[in-house]
């Protein structure tokens, strides 16, 4: 057994002359929520299709729970694709039973799991409804249940919140956390950066098939920090303030400054205190993942030219 649920090593997948996945390597720790990020067409879906055994890599290796991918693995993976659909004419209950049985559950097991989830989402009375009678958001819930019914070890969610209202978004988010607590590892693919920041512990950023960034979210943000601080204060700044400090922006009662690398935050705070200013808030500004994403993708595109 390994500590990593997923280990990718130099995975390569080409279509014609085009490398959709270009020697990608990264590990997903067990029990984590891992973000797979990248702009449109970066190769996320190609990569996911390799992991879910839909396609095979040309070269490189993928280990799931320490084992090379094999034909039994689809049963321990739950995959919710970005483009997803259901049989419109089927009844909700039958449909979910069908999908669960295809994941290797017996009819009884599927029925039990389904009872649990329908109870949990309070949708027991949907059992005999046809899928086409449900709204898009409702269908999304059915999709989610279909993805987790067979208690997968690895859950792959591609834009799981698209089309959901805030209430249902939270509902699904809570379920994701719940599953994580039970030891399920989650690979989460999206371009909604605020969600990544909120949910994921680690991320990998790919562009044009290659990894351009990988690691712990906090560490990445620290790595790309620009030593900017925001100070909210009461009183008047000294006249030579702008000459002494690198001011990024300045509003009445609030100033953002950039300090030299290696200088201590306390020195900055000291400066304000010594000049008799009341400090109401003091914080270091870390770049958002969104900013890092846009910048890094830009750099990588530039380099490719």
């Amino acid at each position: 057994m390994s500590d990593q649920i997923l280990q990718l090593d130099k995975v390569l997948k080409t279509y014609g002359n085009y490398a959709a996945v270009n020697h990608v390597s990264f590990d997903v720790p067990k029990g984590s929520i891992f973000g797979l990020l990248g702009p449109n067409g970066a190769g996320k879906t190609s990569l996911i299709r390799i992991i879910t055994t839909i396609t095979r890599a040309d070269s490189g290796s993928v280990l799931l729970d320490g084992e090379p991918l094999n034909s039994r693995h689809p049963e321990v993976i739950g995959y919710m694709p970005e483009e997803r659909g259901l049989y419109k004419k089927m009844k909700v209950g039958e449909h979910l039973l069908y999908l669960a049985q295809l994941k290797g559950l017996s009819k009884q097991q599927a029925q039990q799991a389904l009872n649990f989830w329908m109870e949990r989402f309070d949708i027991r009375d949907w059992w005999n409804k046809k899928v086409e009678e449900l709204s898009k958001g409702m269908q999304q819930k059915i999709q989610f249940i279909a993805t987790v019914l067979h208690k997968p070890k690895l859950l792959i969610l591609d834009e799981p919140f698209s089309g959901l209202d805030p209430i249902n978004t939270n509902l699904i988010k809570d379920e994701i956390y719940q599953l994580q607590k039970q030891g399920v590892s989650i690979l989460f693919s999206t371009h909604r950066m605020e969600q990544v920041e909120e949910i994921c512990e680690r991320i990998v950023l790919i562009n044009k098939g290659s990894v351009i960034l990988e690691g712990n979210v906090q560490q990445i943000k620290n790595r790309f920090k620009e030593h900017r601080f925001q100070i909210d204060y009461e009183g008047e700044l000294p006249a030579d303030f702008e000459a002494q400090m690198a001011v990024v922006s300045h509003k009445p009662g609030s100033v953002m400054v950039q300090v030299a690398e290696g200088s201590r935050p306390n020195d900055l705070l000291q400066y304000f205190i010594q000049r008799g200013l009341q400090v109401r808030a003091f914080q270091e500004l870390l770049p958002s993942l969104n900013e890092i994403f846009i910048r890094q993708v830009g750099i990588s595109n530039e380099a490719a030219k």
Partner: protein
């Protein structure tokens, strides 16, 4: 393989329980029955347009008597044509038939004249010609003083009874009767047409269903659980089972309801037959009885123990072959049915060709066209069943079966390679050339 079973079950059950399936399955026999009844009524229908015809017969050809037809009444008059012409309507006649004097008794042509506002309708014309023909014959026999017995001996009906060449003692050599080839063509045509229908109805059903799965994006969800190959095969087998179910129901219901309906509406079948086959009118009823008995015996004589299993093999092989092609094409299509035309054409053309070849083949079941096309696997599922009743050489049947099964398996494999790429390909108009390329994509 357990999953394949689950897929087949779903494909089968969702279709069989669908309202449109139930309607099509149970209304079609009713439709057939209705057609049967209506056709019977139409054939039984005679003109209700009452006509009265005056006859001026100068030479007494008819010697003053002619049988009336239903709704067609003849009256002999002694007046001249000019007298009759005036006040014809008042006298209650619709037309005048003038039989002129015969110039030369040996003339083969004899023209009579029909005076009326409107030219005679075909049924009147036919009745007059028939009556006059018989009367003329009688007239000439008398006028030329011919021997009636000798004359009748001139008419001979020829029957060809095929006999086996080898005659072995103790071994029963099958003796073909007059009806062998007629019955065989009938069976052949029926088998051929069932194949043709099955390929089209269920092939297109598969194609549409694959397209639908693709456009609703359910495939994206499915392929993370099952192989595309299992999906495709499950659908083909499931729909095939639907087809067998439907045909089985029809095979029972159509004869049942049709015979029920004909009893109920009292449609006289012999009337239908005699109306369609002129020849039957000249054959006396005892002959018809004998013919039916012979026909039944001929049907019983057919080697069903060989033909039915062989038909099933061709049905399954042909279905598998074409259904997989339809599945491959369905996977390449987008929502737009119209743009798929260019892709379905290469499939429909061989099916249509096979159908026309089949029609030619039941006329000449041992021609080289028949032999080669019933071995060629794209045609054999439709052509060979049509030949089976003509007892083709065993080696031809075995060769064509082996080729068909091998080709069907090959096409399933080939289609699966196109299918796995096609179902995940969106928003691109696909050409045949591209389909070819997909076959060589790696997984």
């Amino acid at each position: 393989m357990k999953k394949l079973g689950i897929i087949i079950k779903r494909e089968y059950l969702t279709r069989v329980t669908r309202r449109s399936f139930l309607i099509a399955t149970f209304l079609t026999p009713l439709g057939f029955a209705l057609l049967f009844v209506v056709v019977g009524v139409i054939f039984a229908y005679k003109s209700d347009d009452v006509r009265k015809v005056a006859i001026i017969d100068y030479d007494q050809i008819l010697s003053g008597s002619i049988k009336d037809e239903k709704n067609l009444y003849f009256t002999f008059v002694d007046k001249s044509l000019d007298e009759m012409r005036q006040g014809l309507k008042e006298a209650g006649f619709d037309g005048i038939l003038v039989l002129p004097k015969i110039k030369e008794i040996t003339d083969k042509r004899y023209t009579v004249y029909y005076y009326a506002d409107k030219p005679p309708t075909p049924d009147i014309e036919l009745a007059i010609k028939e009556r006059l023909g018989t009367a003329m014959r009688e007239y000439k026999i008398n006028a030329l003083q011919l021997d009636r017995r000798q004359l009748e001996a001139l008419d001979t009906r020829i029957e060809l009874d095929p006999e086996p060449l080898a005659e072995k003692d103790g071994e029963k050599v099958k003796d073909a009767s007059v009806f062998t080839s007629a019955i065989a063509s009938g069976i052949g045509f029926l088998m051929g047409i069932i194949m043709y229908m099955a390929v089209f109805i269920y092939g297109v059903m598969i194609m549409r269903s694959v397209m639908e799965e693709k456009t609703t994006r359910i495939v994206e969800v499915m392929i993370s659980s099952v192989r595309p190959f299992e999906m495709m095969l499950g659908k083909i087998i499931g729909v095939g089972a639907v087809g067998l179910t439907q045909f089985a129901i029809w095979a029972i219901l159509i004869p049942l309801i049709s015979s029920g309906a004909s009893l109920l509406f009292n449609v006289d079948m012999s009337q239908m037959n005699s109306a369609s086959a002129q020849a039957a009118a000249e054959v006396d009823p005892d002959d018809i009885q004998a013919m039916i008995a012979l026909g039944m015996q001929e049907l019983a004589n057919q080697n069903w123990w060989f033909m039915l299993p062989a038909f099933v093999v061709y049905f399954l092989g042909g279905y598998l072959l074409y259904a997989s092609l339809f599945a491959a094409v369905g996977s390449a299509m987008s929502d737009d049915l119209g743009e798929g035309q260019s892709l379905t054409l290469p499939i429909t053309i061989p099916v249509l060709l096979a159908f026309y070849i089949m029609i030619a083949v039941i006329q000449a079941p041992n021609s080289s066209l028949a032999v080669w096309s019933s071995i060629f696997p794209l045609f054999s599922p439709i052509v060979m069943p049509a030949r089976l009743a003509f007892e083709p050489p065993l080696w031809e049947v075995i060769l064509s079966m082996v080729l068909l099964i091998a080709t069907a398996i090959f096409f399933v494999w080939l289609s699966a390679r196109i299918y796995r790429v096609g179902i995940l390909m969106y928003g691109k108009k696909v050409t045949l050339k591209e389909l070819g390329k997909w076959m060589f994509y790696r997984d």
